[in-house]
């Protein structure tokens, strides 16, 4: 393969696009491998969990006081009157995510951070996690994308955003002290006693199905995944009871023995004794499970290469994951060293976020990349950032993003951006510098023959070479 073609593939398939392929240098493989490490810091002064929780509490208070003052919807001027700190915080997190991706010089690391944040999805759609999603990415994901899988898994599972998003916060052992205590208070007809009686299986199920082993049938030809039963889900939920926080009193997640289900738990035929130590033990076992290796290897290959990646390559990545005990840098190196990874055909359709971020990099928009609503365009194309519709995260197949309406939204967005910038950017040399040998004759010709500079730029943004990677 020619070095320029390899540079183009490195920049687009594994990165977020470059305005000039020269930044990749003479050795694209080395350029990628140099980037393996923790993701860039998103900047200072961004909110942590404590700020997010405080903004949540303020928002609740404001809501309660407006309800108490008897203001009806009709005579309230607008719900946004006054400063909505929580909304600003959520927008600030999205802005930080996008600006980091637009400006980073380590786009491969950034893509990995996006991949793992999606694998361990938490969203702002749930009231109790609103304001915590940016903190989750910064604290649990970004520092750990180049360590061992089990450490990433532990940090994600233990993060307050995940404990809340998947309801472990309020899951109690049916025979725990807290449940007995509350039952006594309720029996004494205490109207203030909370209603709480036992397990919530949400985290346990998604930990098995989405984060580690995978759903049994979902692996298809890349399987077998899964291998757990309802009894395993219930036992894991019992094992996870007690991991809560933070609350007003305790600033960090902690193990509260009063909430923990007493007794041993048996998960996938392994016995785990009562207590906080079982958490690490079970995550270690799940992280080492062959189903987990196959599941992660498939998802990674699917994300970077093709909706249906070559099975031989997935098998190789699986082996590396198992042999290295989930060492992520080894896995990424194996990905880059795979001959299949450099196949010239660009099969993956960019997600809306990848499209918008790579456009901003192409157009060198820098810090000025985002307007007042940083993610409006991405949302219109079908991807509201930090708001994936389910714990499974965003889909990673072209068919999910290629509805006629979704494509039309891309055209509208590209057309608007090009109208604004067409006068100052010449698409012809830009197409050559950014796409190199990937620029096909048909696209070059269309850009050359465009009616005006704006149209040329819109054609470049919407070309198959730029829509796919």
């Amino acid at each position: 393969m020619s070095a320029p073609l390899q540079a183009a593939i490195a920049a687009h398939r594994f990165g977020l696009g470059e305005a000039d392929l020269a930044v990749v240098g003479d050795d694209p493989v080395a350029w990628l491998k140099r980037q393996i490490g923790p993701a860039d810091a998103q900047g200072s002064g961004l909110p942590g969990v404590a700020e997010g929780l405080r903004a949540q509490a303020d928002a609740r208070r404001r809501l309660a006081s407006s309800a108490a003052s008897g203001a009806s919807a009709a005579d309230t001027p607008s719900p946004t009157a006054g400063r909505d700190e929580l909304r600003e915080l959520v927008q600030g997190d999205i802005r930080a995510r996008l600006l980091t991706a637009v400006n980073t010089q380590r786009p491969f690391a950034e893509r990995l951070a996006m991949f793992w944040a999606n694998h361990f999805t938490v969203t702002t759609l749930k009231g109790s996690t609103r304001g915590l999603v940016g903190a989750f990415e910064r604290e649990a994901i970004r520092p750990r994308i180049a360590g061992r899988f089990v450490d990433l898994l532990r940090a994600s599972t233990m993060h307050p955003a995940m404990l809340r998003y998947l309801d472990n916060q309020n899951s109690a052992g049916p025979r725990s002290l807290i449940v007995q205590r509350i039952a006594r208070r309720r029996a004494a007809t205490d109207p203030l006693a909370p209603r709480l009686s036992g397990l919530n299986e949400n985290l346990a199920r998604e930990l098995l199905e989405l984060h580690t082993l995978g759903a049994a049938h979902a692996g298809g030809r890349y399987g077998p995944w899964g291998g757990y039963s309802q009894a395993d889900v219930t036992a894991l939920a019992a094992l996870l009871t007690g991991w809560r926080g933070p609350g007003e009193a305790a600033p960090r997640p902690h193990f509260d023995p009063a909430w923990h289900e007493p007794g041993d738990k048996v998960i996938l035929n392994q016995r785990y004794a009562e207590g906080p130590q079982a958490f690490d033990a079970v995550l270690t076992d799940l992280a080492r499970h062959p189903s987990t290796a196959r599941h992660i290897a498939t998802k990674l290959a699917r994300h970077f290469l093709a909706d249906e990646p070559p099975p031989a390559m997935v098998a190789r990545l699986t082996e590396v994951f198992l042999q290295s005990d989930g060492d992520l840098p080894a896995l990424y190196a194996a990905l880059i060293d795979s001959p299949e990874a450099w196949a010239p055909a660009a099969l993956k359709l960019k997600t809306p976020e990848e499209f918008v971020v790579s456009s901003a990099r192409l157009l060198r928009l820098g810090q000025g990349a985002l307007g007042r609503a940083p993610d409006a365009g991405i949302g219109a194309m079908g991807q509201r950032l930090h708001a994936a519709p389910s714990p499974a995260g965003w889909p990673d197949r072209a068919e999910e993003w290629l509805g006629p309406e979704a494509l039309w939204q891309r055209v509208e967005w590209a057309s608007r951006v090009a109208d604004r910038l067409g006068a100052s950017i010449d698409a012809r040399p830009l197409a050559q510098a950014a796409l190199g040998p990937r620029l096909g004759a048909a696209t070059r010709q269309q850009i050359d023959r465009a009616a005006d500079p704006s149209q040329a730029l819109a054609l470049l943004l919407m070309s198959p070479e730029f829509q796919r990677r």
């Binding site: 009686s197 759903a215 049994a216 999910e400 509805g403 309406e405």
Partner: protein, 394 residues
């Protein structure tokens, strides 16, 4: 099963050889043509929350704090009632336009949202075995048209048939010249070319686009459902419009605090209620409500007993709704298994006594008038043994 393993091209060829179906879907339809709306509630609607069974002796004990609502439930026949947020649906029930199906579900036991939704939409026997949708295959066989009220085509409509998508847009339209040049650019990329051509065709049909709000690829937020229901009625009522529309609503995965009067379940049910009433009004105005069947269903029901956080975890059997002028309403169709622990599936879930695919079959065969053989072979293989469910007016 073999039909499902045919390549896309073979399947197209097969359907082209079929004799024309009884309804000429391809021609400009008169108002007499049947319409089908499928509403998918993603996340697992709690059937016993939406359609409680206060008359079942085990109900109150099993449901605990979830057994009652802020307002009284609305009575239905037998032991059943309707969540108070479903007042307009209840009125339709009273008018004989809506029936409830209970203890209904898919033959799938593992309680994963993603696998269960895959089955709900693909109509396959095992998750991920089939990668097109049962409704998409049915439309291909009947040369019908479908529309999804979201930006991406949902799995249930995927297949060789013509399927459009529509979602609200806030941006100005691109210049037609740009679009036609993109058409040339996509000559070597059939997927992009097809999506662009369909989007263009939708606009050429004069469909308005300038509405506020953004559509999401995965799941429609509940707040949008009313707007989308309104548009669905306009599409279905337009001359030459689609026969089938698919809407979906997310947010039904109620693991915690399910009984809160302003909680997710109550709010979502209110939105659903308003959206369905809006759909009815729209279709009435277009004169096609009488020929319409709407099916509202979900991937699975939830555990019978309240969980430790005043919510419900994933279960099996649940409830579904059929409404429309074509529906024989005012009934609760349920071969009720009972809620006592011994009657439950694995001691925890409402047992499934009606296969949801039997409802799909009934709608395809008796409402859209697809030949039974086509349904058996292409739309829903492996379901030939299922008996039809009496939801339609005869």
């Amino acid at each position: 099963m073999t039909a499902l393993h045919l390549s896309r091209r073979r399947l197209l060829a097969t359907s082209a050889l079929l004799p024309a179906t009884r309804l000429s879907f391809g021609a400009a339809p008169s108002a007499g043509d049947a319409r089908l709306v499928l509403v998918i509630l993603r996340g697992g609607l709690d059937g016993l929350g939406a359609v409680p069974a206060p008359g079942d002796p085990a109900f109150a004990t099993a449901r605990g704090a979830l057994a009652s609502y802020a307002e009284p439930a609305l009575g239905l026949s037998g032991p059943f009632a309707l969540h108070p947020a479903l007042a307009q649906l209840h009125a339709m029930y009273g008018r004989g336009e809506m029936s409830v199906m209970h203890a209904v579900g898919l033959p799938y036991k593992e309680r994963s949202h993603f696998e269960a939704q895959q089955l709900l939409e693909s109509g396959g026997q095992r998750p991920h075995e089939v990668t097109t949708g049962w409704l998409g295959r049915a439309l291909a066989a009947s040369r019908g048209k479908g529309i999804a009220l979201q930006s991406a085509v949902p799995l249930v409509l995927r297949g060789p048939a013509t399927v459009d998508t529509w979602a609200p847009s806030a941006l100005p339209e691109p210049a037609p010249d740009l679009v036609s040049r993109l058409g040339m650019l996509y000559e070597a990329d059939p997927d992009l070319a097809r999506a662009l051509a369909r989007a263009q065709a939708l606009r050429a049909d004069g469909m308005p686009t300038a509405m506020r709000g953004a559509g999401m690829a995965g799941v429609t937020r509940p707040g949008q459902a009313v707007t989308l229901a309104q548009r669905a009625a306009e599409f279905l009522g337009a001359p030459g419009g689609p026969q089938v529309a698919v809407l979906d609503m997310g947010g039904w995965d109620t693991h915690a605090n399910q009984a809160a009067p302003q909680g997710a379940l109550a709010n979502n049910l209110r939105q659903l209620d308003t959206a369905l009433a809006t759909l009815r009004e729209g279709l009435l105005a277009k004169g096609c409500w009488a020929q319409t069947a709407v099916l509202v269903c979900t991937e699975f029901g939830r555990q019978v007993a309240v969980n430790g956080t005043q919510g419900t975890d994933h279960g099996s059997g649940g409830a579904a709704f059929a409404l429309g002028g074509a529906i024989a309403g005012g009934k609760v169709l349920a071969d009720w298994p009972g809620l006592a622990p011994k009657d439950r599936f694995e001691g925890r879930d409402l047992r499934i006594t009606t296969d949801l695919r039997a409802v799909f079959r009934t709608l395809l065969i008796d409402h859209l008038r697809l030949p039974q053989a086509t349904v058996n072979r292409e739309a829903l293989p492996g379901t030939a043994e299922l008996r039809s469910v009496p939801i339609l007016r005869s």
